[in-house]
Symmetry: C2
Subunit: 209 residues, 2 copies
DNA sequence: TGGTATATAATACAAATGTACTATAGTACA
DNA sequence: TGTACTATAGTACATTTGTATTATATACCA
């Protein structure tokens, strides 16, 4: 998918939201009035541009025939890459998601239920097996810099130079990181040695073979 | 959802297929010509009937504004209930899924990718923690009575009276059930003591709090 | 027997809608 | 400086399209 200018992105977002809300596509004039464009010809101009650029499909002469090519209908979240032990998760800068991410993942609504700033990463390696997360699993996360006690979070351990998924507890000046697997021991560390990268919302695993 | 007459079902199917194929809804006249109806008023008559009966939504005066109310778009799979240790998974009878199951679950396409006979169950308890499956996880399965060696399968252990998820190996007259967690020991048993209930396709976990 | 609901048809009309044509302004570039 | 491209606007027009009206036939039920 090629890049998109902010202007065109605004039009595309309007179309996406319109379809999402109402279940049918906007007319040229709906787009014009919805995007504060004073002339249908201008809206048509954008629609043709979006069509040329491969963001939408439509049929000539057929009213409301716009359909989205990007199949991220509903709850698509960006798949931002892979986390391996020893490298930080690439957290996106809050709302600077102008460019469409290369890969997008359809997530069931009941897993994310209205949460914003959601992204997904693929786990490389078995370093988080104690959180019941296996090699190849998809972890769905919400960007966050702080979390409540007891939340399962992705934590960057500065001294170990690795990311781990643990339940996070603040305890009288120390941080306790509790593995999900109760047979494993917690990690204790200083607040300045850890950095929260996000809350874990969901895990999805595709079983091979 | 109330019953539907065969005639109206034909119209509804046409609308469904039209939207599926083209990505936008048919006009009244599209329905007329597509269903061999010689007059737009007759097509409108059916559309109003379908709207009254709750099968479709539409807005007055808005062209091609029909949308389907039945939200089984795409990859909904039936959520057949809960498996607890000590009770068999309720496998559905092959293709007798005429009735819509009470609950349906939206599963990302990349997880099931064209596989048929797919259903999901919710896991109760920690008895399958050695397969990295936690209490509350959703397990997506494909109905099967036999599997290839090495496949992760739901297996009913007759002597223990419980279901377990393990990798399945047939080995010179015996069955080896290998936990996904390599720190745990395999279970060996006789072929007549096990019954395969399905292949595990995927696991989904919603993290609480 | 008559009323009611379903099914079907023809047609006319006004509103919704895609499209074409023309025009203007700003910016980048050669 | 002129050319090309993008962005924007106004307007006119023909087609698409939802809707209203009228009419006919059949089946069911009271």
């Amino acid at each position: 998918m090629m890049a998109i200018s902010p202007k065109r992105k605004r039009i595309l977002d309007f179309i996406t939201d319109f379809i999402q809300d109402r279940g049918y596509a906007p007319s040229i004039r709906d787009i014009a009035s919805g995007c504060s464009i004073s002339s249908p010809s201008v809206a048509q101009y954008y629609v043709e541009a979006l069509e040329r650029d491969g963001f939408i499909n439509r049929r000539p002469d057929i009213s409301r025939s716009i359909s989205l090519i990007d199949k991220t209908t509903g709850s698509g979240v960006p798949l931002l890459g892979t986390i391996a032990a020893g490298s930080p998760i690439p957290v996106p800068e809050s709302d600077t998601w102008v460019a469409v991410p290369e890969e997008s993942l359809e997530i069931p609504d009941y897993l994310i239920g209205g949460i914003n700033n959601v992204y997904a990463v693929r786990v490389k390696g078995k370093s988080m097996i104690d959180a019941l997360i296996d090699d190849g699993d998809i972890v769905v996360m919400q960007a966050a810099n702080s979390v409540e006690n007891g939340t399962m979070a992705a934590v960057w351990l500065k001294d170990r130079q690795e990311v781990t998924l643990k339940r996070f507890y603040r305890e009288s000046g120390k941080i306790r990181l509790q593995p999900a697997n109760t047979t494993m021991q917690p990690i204790y560390c200083q607040p300045e040695d850890v950095e929260i990268q996000g809350k874990v919302i969901a895990v999805m695993r595709k079983i091979q073979r």
